[in-house]
Structures are given as C-alpha cells and as structure tokens.
C-alpha cells in the first residue's frame, strides 16, 4: 500500500499531571490514503489536537506507532516539516508586523522554493484566494477572513503532501467560510493534497470531507463516510408535506416501515422515517396515494445530532 500517507497504529498519549496520569489518546488506529479529505471530530478534550500534534511531530507518543509520508514525525520532524503544511486556526504563522508579501517571500526561502516556481505558484494562489490587494498590508491589519486566506496560501505555498487544519473556519463570516471551503476543495481535487481537518463546524465536514473520524475520550468511536455514519447510527430524515385538507389525518399504513407522523400544524405534517427502512420516494408515493398534497420537502438528518449521539455512547439500532 504505497499510497498510504498517514498510518496510525495503537497510538497512545499519556500526560502526567499533579493529579495523576491522564490518557489523552488511548489507542487509536487509522490509515489515510493520498488524496483523502478527512474530517477529524470530537468533543473538547477528546484528544483531537493531541493526535494532530503527534502526527505533526510536536508530541512524542507514549505508545503505538505513527508515520506520516513514511517518516516518524517526532524523529524526523524537520524532514516531515518540508512535506506538510499546518494551519492552527487561532494562531498565525505569518509575520505579524510585516506586509503580507514578505511572509510569502520568507516562506519561499524557508522551504527552499525556487524563485520562479514560487512566483508562479503565488500568482495562482493570489488569484484563487483574492489576495492581490492585500499583499502590501501588514498582517496585523488583515481581517480574520483575509488572514485565514493568507494563512492557507502560506501553508500550501511549498506544495505540501499533507495539510493539517485546525478550525480553519472558526469565527469567519459566511462569505469567508465559502471562500476557504472552495479553496480547500479545489486544492484537494486538483493537487491531490491529503487534508486532515479538525473542526467543530459540522458544516465543514459535510461540505468537504469524504471521510469522518470521530474520537471521544481518546478512543476512535467512528471511522467512515458520512453515509455510513447515518447508516450506523440510524439517523432519521424528515418528510414535510403540506396537505390540501388541513383537517385530514395521516395514518401510517402497513408499508410505512416505521415512519411516524411526529407533528401536525395547519396544512403541514412532519413525518420521521429511517433512511435504511424506507426511501423518501416510496414514502412520498404512499402519502400521495391517499392525500392531495400541495407541497413537500425532505429534511436531511442533522449530522450534529448524530455526532452528539455518538458522544453520548448510543449505539446504532
């Protein structure tokens, strides 16, 4: 398996404190292939950032194995540093007091990017991230959204194989979030950059990631696609129908496969159904067969709700 970029096996990290030892990461396993866009989620203190720190060479594991780009991060930290990019949302890796373009220049020298290549790559990044007008502005004067775009440009300027992102959209307005997400999607699609995205923003995950890893109490509690998440945790969808006759009652028939009317208000009825029990099309057909319907819509399950249930330790049905 040559295209495995990140390999984590039985990874553990124990911290010693005055109150005794705490196992922040208690044995997790996963492998990430080149080009994957992985969402890494978990509640506060679940061990997310500890894992990312071990993957980027900032922390030594207490036990287990971790390899990134075929390198042992803590042992070959500087070699790995040339091949990975890191954006820790709340902190800057730019030169705060200097005009933005000087940061890019310094990054170019730091990662020994040939001048011609740097110029070519920078021109493209400037265009995609709309950085042109900001180049002469000191980083300290950039807005959060502008700065995040600049951080991303600086992190991917050396063409990293792996990109670790920690809350890259936190605090951004809608427009800035869209810009950041568009950029990341394109980067992943066009350059095949492997991205590990740590976030609380589940919108980020549903819009960007083709895989989700959830950890809690230092253990891996889910690893799979978003669809698999819904399937495993039996997440339900909601069918909203507006009946022509507000007085009509919807009675679940034999074909309803457990679907239930959970709310009725005026013309509108809310029907909850499990995606693995009955398809939306079948359910709609059943309703249409008996009632005259003015309008209908389907609400997809709230992934936040699903993840909250994982944290609570509920198992799938």
């Amino acid at each position: 398996m040559s295209n495995v970029v990140i390999e984590v096996e039985g990874l553990r990290k124990r911290f010693r404190t005055r109150r005794g030892t705490v196992e922040a990461v208690a044995g997790i396993d996963f492998a990430v292939r080149a080009g994957e866009f992985v969402g890494y989620a978990g509640p506060n203190g679940a061990g997310k950032s500890t894992t990312v720190k071990m993957m980027s060479g900032i922390l030594l594991p207490t036990g287990g194995r971790v390899e990134v780009c075929g390198l042992v991060p803590w042992r070959e930290r500087r070699r790995l540093a040339r091949r990975m990019g890191v954006v820790f949302g709340q902190r800057t890796q730019l030169w705060w007091d200097l005009p933005l373009e000087e940061s890019f220049e310094l990054v170019g020298h730091l990662y020994r990017i040939p001048a011609a290549e740097r110029a070519r790559r920078l021109a493209r990044l400037e265009e995609v991230l709309a950085l042109g007008p900001l180049l002469g502005v000191p980083v300290r004067s950039l807005s959060l959204g502008q700065r995040m775009r600049a951080e991303l440009a600086a992190a991917v300027l050396p063409s990293p194989e792996v990109l670790f992102l920690d809350e890259p959209t936190i605090g951004l307005d809608v427009e800035a979030k869209v810009a950041v997400r568009d950029f990341l999607r394109e980067l992943n699609a066009e350059e095949g950059t492997t991205v590990i995205l740590t976030t609380h923003d589940l919108d980020d995950i549903t819009r960007l990631c083709n895989r989700l890893i959830v950890i809690d109490h230092g253990r891996l509690v889910f690893d799979g696609t978003i669809d698999q998440l819904h399937a495993a945790y039996g997440s339900t969808r909601m069918l909203l129908v507006d009946l022509a006759d507000p007085a009509a009652t919807l009675v679940p028939g034999p074909g309803w496969a457990g679907a239930q009317v959970v709310r009725a208000e005026g013309h509108r009825r809310w029907i909850r159904f499990a995606r693995d029990q009955i398809s939306a099309a079948d359910l709609v057909a059943l309703v249409l067969a008996e009632h005259q319907v003015l309008d209908l819509s389907i609400m997809e399950p709230d992934i936040e709700d699903v993840i909250r249930r994982i944290y609570r330790g509920e198992r799938g049905r």
Partner: protein
Amino acid sequence: MAEHLGVYLRLAAASVRATARRPAYLAARTVSAGLIVAIEVAGVLLMLDRFGSIGGWRPAEVVLLFGLAFTAQGLALVFGDTLEADKVSQLVRRGTFDQVLTRPTSPLGWVVASYVDTRFVGRMLAGAATVVWATDRAGVAWTPGRALLAALAVACAAAIIFGVLLVAAGFTFVTVQASEAANVLLYGGQYLASYPMQIYGSALRFVFVWVVPLGLAIYVPALGVLGRQGPPGLPGWLAWLSAPVAAAFLALGGLAWRAGIRHYVGTGS
C-alpha cells in the same frame, strides 16, 4: 545549522524590519536602553566617590569592568532576550512554539533569529562608550593585544550569558510544560494567566548572569587591559582561558536547550 544561515539571517532581518516599522518606538527603546547604562555607571561612580578607591582600584578602572559587562550583556541580549523564562513560557502558552516545531529549521535558530531585539543595541553601544571613557580616564595605552583582550572579554562574557540563558530556557520548558499539561486537562486548553514556578530564584540568577561572567570573562582580561597585577597566584594567561570556558557554557546551554525540547516534545519523560 550552517546551511540554514541564509534563512536565519533573513528571519533576523525580518524581525528587525518589523520593529523598524515603528521607528519612534524603536528609537525610544534603544535610547532608553542606553540611558539605563549611563544611569547605572553614574550610580557606580557616585558610590565609589565616597571611597576614592576599592582595593586599589580607581573608579575609572571599576567602571571599565561594568562597561565591558554592559557591552557583553547587550550583545548577548540582542539575540538571547527571547530566551528569558517568561518569554519562553509565553511562546509555549500561546502555542507559538508548537508552530516553531512544524518549521523545517532548528527551533533554536528560529527563536533566536525571529526575536532579535534591537533595543539591546543601545545597551551594547552605551557599554562600549563606557569602556572607551573608562580606559581614557584610567590612562590605558591601547595596544593590539589589549584591544584583543577587551574584545575577547566581551565576546566570552556574552557567550557565557547566552549559555546561561539557554540553560534557563531549557528548564523553563520543563516547568511550563508541567503546568501547561495540567491546564490543558483542567481547563480544556485555555491558557491560564498565572506564571510557572520559577525554578531559579533572582539571587541565583544574579550570581550566574553577573558574578560568574564578570569574574571569569571580564575581571581577568580587564587586568590585562589595565596592565595591572592580579591577586597573587592569578597568572596573566588565565585571561585566554575564558574562551574555552565560554565555549563550555555555550555547549552546556545547547545541551540544556535540547533536553528542554526533548522534554517538551515528550521524549524526556
């Protein structure tokens, strides 16, 4: 390290340019650093005025010792100020040091080059001016050998101070890490505004930053510069010994720094 020298020079230049964007601030800080030296020298002179001389040393000769020490401190702190315990602990607490570790450079080179403090150029220049004034007052006839001794004294004392700062920084990693690990677990990563325990008290610090470098690297060469006889049993060639002593301090500092980082990353515990 050598292959990265160009990078470090660029980083240092960038950090100077960053300060230079506020020229008035830079000037004020540099001038005030120089003024502090002038005030300290004036204080010494005022005190010595009451005695006339101490142990056969005239005031100007004593001031020469201080001048050499100020110059050395200024030189060491231009690069090493950021290694002070509270600044290292800030780097750690703000997460900046984690980012330093994700850079393809040596962490020490990065930290030193990124936080060059030009303010201490003021201390250095004022110290050098003090040396010139003091040797003039003391009637020193400069020879190439004496100039070399003075330069050696400054370089070695600066290296010793830098070494001591490195040792302190290495220890700071250990103390900060301990309290930080506790904070992460108790407060979910929020940094607590409290400072870590200082493992070296200010008295100890005074001894190491003042007494040791002064005694080792400045007093003995100063004897040579002034053409004085030292106490019996203190041969003149001892002055040249300060070079290996300074190298040893630097090496010790390097080891402590490395150990500190190893501890920070988690190898040491």
